[in-house]
């Protein structure tokens, strides 16, 4: 904004300082006025413009650093809330009510119209008082709403949710849920692998979101294994529906069926039967391999025992074999000894590092 009528040639420092176009020229080098040309034309203004420039560039504000992890937590909470809302939207619960009242009101006669109008007015007044009251309450409860449970490599954890659902969390995994579930939905976010035994509650569906793949259940037990963009859902009992929101994909599983969804490049989904002993082995402390390549085996061992594995043997001799076997509560050394005997490698332990040679 330019002071009304003041010509540039009469500009003083404070005029430059408050001229929007000048500020933008100093800060962003963009302006609607040709300031360089103007200063060439009126060189007597240069000291003023220089002073203004110096002041503007001196106005740097102290940055109070905001705790990154707090911001991350906040983002998680917002993601969670909006997911929950989107899930309700898909169920059609949110808007159906208002549509129905609008349709009903149209059919009333004039007399009835006034009656309805006054009723609605009362309803709105009372309703807004109530929603205000509940909004207030909701807000006060908000900070303690969410719980995050996490396991490191080599750790496992069993968590009980407020509805009685039991969740076993495999190593290197994370689960986020509401401390006390609300009345419409039971929603859980998962990264990594977990086995769910869902408490029966037909009024509130149980949803697990694993990187965009949402599994919905009423009262069932199932295993979810999420690695990056690949999510594996294996149903043990009951019934679940699995949805991939991005691709608008939906599939229903029966007991014994497993669905593998991969969104790495487009959507690929495969349904097949699974071996219960294989998928659920981890929940009873059994390390299970079925025709697995060296890379997969070492990744599993790293996560299971919380170690880092370095392979010093030439890649050619390590590639091209696969191994099957299972170990029940066995030490890392025994496991490596058994596999190494068959697949011809040696190993040594250095702290939490394993070297294969």
């Amino acid at each position: 904004m330019k002071k009304t009528g003041k010509p540039y040639k009469d500009y003083k420092t404070e005029d430059f300082l408050t001229d929007e176009s000048f500020i933008s020229w100093v800060q962003k080098n963009t302006s609607t006025t040709d300031w360089a040309g103007m200063l060439d034309k009126y060189p007597h203004l240069v000291p003023f413009s220089e002073e203004a420039k110096n002041m503007i560039s001196g106005l740097k504000f102290e940055q109070r650093s905001y705790d990154e992890s707090r911001i991350e937590d906040l983002k998680k909470r917002i993601r969670f809330k909006t997911e929950e809302f989107s899930a309700k939207e898909r169920k059609g619960k949110v808007f159906s009510l208002s549509k129905r009242t609008a349709g009903a009101a149209r059919n009333k006669s004039k007399k009835q119209y006034w009656l309805v109008a006054s009723m609605i007015a009362t309803f709105i007044v009372v309703g807004s008082l109530l929603t205000d009251f509940f909004a207030e309450k909701d807000k006060l409860e908000a900070p303690s709403d969410f719980v995050v449970r996490k396991t490191d490599k080599g750790q496992k954890l069993t968590v009980f949710l407020s509805d009685g659902t039991k969740v076993m969390l495999n190593s290197n995994s994370e689960i986020t849920f509401e401390e006390k579930f609300n009345n419409t939905l039971r929603m859980v976010h998962l990264t990594g692998e977990a086995f769910f035994e869902v408490a029966k509650d037909t009024s509130r569906p149980f949803l697990v979101d694993a990187n965009g793949t949402v599994t919905q259940a009423l009262g069932t037990s199932f295993n979810i294994d999420q690695k990056g963009k690949e999510v594996q859902v294996s149903l043990v009992t009951g019934k679940v529906s699995v949805a991939q929101k991005e691709f608008n994909y939906n599939e229903i599983l029966d007991p014994g069926e497993q669905l593998i969804i991969d969104t790495e490049e487009g959507l690929s989904a495969e349904k097949r039967n699974f071996d219960r002993n294989e998928v659920l082995a981890w929940t009873i402390g059994v390390l299970f391999f079925k025709h697995e390549e060296s890379r997969e085996i070492f990744e599993k061992l790293e996560s299971w025992y919380g170690v880092e594995i370095q392979v010093e043997k030439s890649p050619e001799t390590m590639a091209g074999w696969s191994y099957s076997g299972s170990f029940h509560n066995e030490s890392l050394e025994n496991v490596l000894k058994s596999i190494g005997m068959v697949k011809k490698f040696h190993f040594r332990l250095e702290g939490t590092t394993v070297i294969i040679f």
Binding site: M1, T18, M55, L59, T82, F85, P143
Partner: protein
């Protein structure tokens, strides 16, 4: 070049915003990833209560998502969010104040004020260092309102129109307050130097 960059920013903002309005979760994530830290830092100048700040931010973003299809268009997301966040925050701070009615009855309290300071200068050249220190001193003496206007104008690079909308002030009042503030800053530098 820079005019191009500016129009690019505007184009990008309006595209992201309209994608979000159409229900793109990715665009929504982008909005809060890009602006959250800014908003919280802005809010921090009004209150040290981080829980309250984060509640307000959560409230704001959830509402944006829930009402996404009724939001008006914008080509400056930062400005849009700052205006909405400030409103949300003031509402919450007033509520907070009501809750602490008895305390505020005994201890005089006012509406939330804006508190920031300029960064401590780190330059070699002596006269420049002296000027910057005087600028910092002068800035500390300004009113909260003047500080906020300067912060929005010179740091967030909002226009006078946008500032008057964010602060709910008449555009003329914004301009006058800024003009007075800059005059007093200038005096502070030159009077002590002569």
């Amino acid at each position: 070049m820079s005019i191009l960059r500016l129009s690019y920013r505007k184009e990008k903002d309006s595209r992201i915003w309209s994608d979000m309005k159409r229900g793109s979760k990715e665009a929504f994530d982008r909005v809060f990833n890009e602006h959250m830290a800014y908003l919280l830092n802005y809010g921090r100048s009004f209150t040290g209560d981080l829980d309250l700040l984060e509640d307000c931010a959560q409230e704001l973003f959830c509402r944006i998502w829930v009402r996404r299809d009724t939001l008006k268009d914008t080509d400056n997301i930062r400005f849009y969010l700052m205006a909405a966040f400030r409103k949300e925050l003031f509402k919450a701070l007033k509520k907070e104040q009501k809750k602490n009615f008895w305390r505020s009855w005994i201890l005089p309290s006012s509406l939330p004020g804006f508190e920031v300071s300029l960064e401590t200068a780190m330059v070699e050249e002596e006269t420049r260092l002296r000027d910057l220190n005087r600028l910092k001193g002068g800035f500390a003496q300004l009113s909260p309102r003047q500080k906020e206007i300067i912060y929005l104008k010179y740091y967030n690079q909002l226009s006078f129109d946008e500032i008057s909308e964010v602060m709910q002030l008449d555009k003329k009042a914004v301009y006058n307050a800024l003009s007075k503030a800059m005059l007093s800053l200038r005096k502070n530098i030159s009077s002590t130097s002569s």
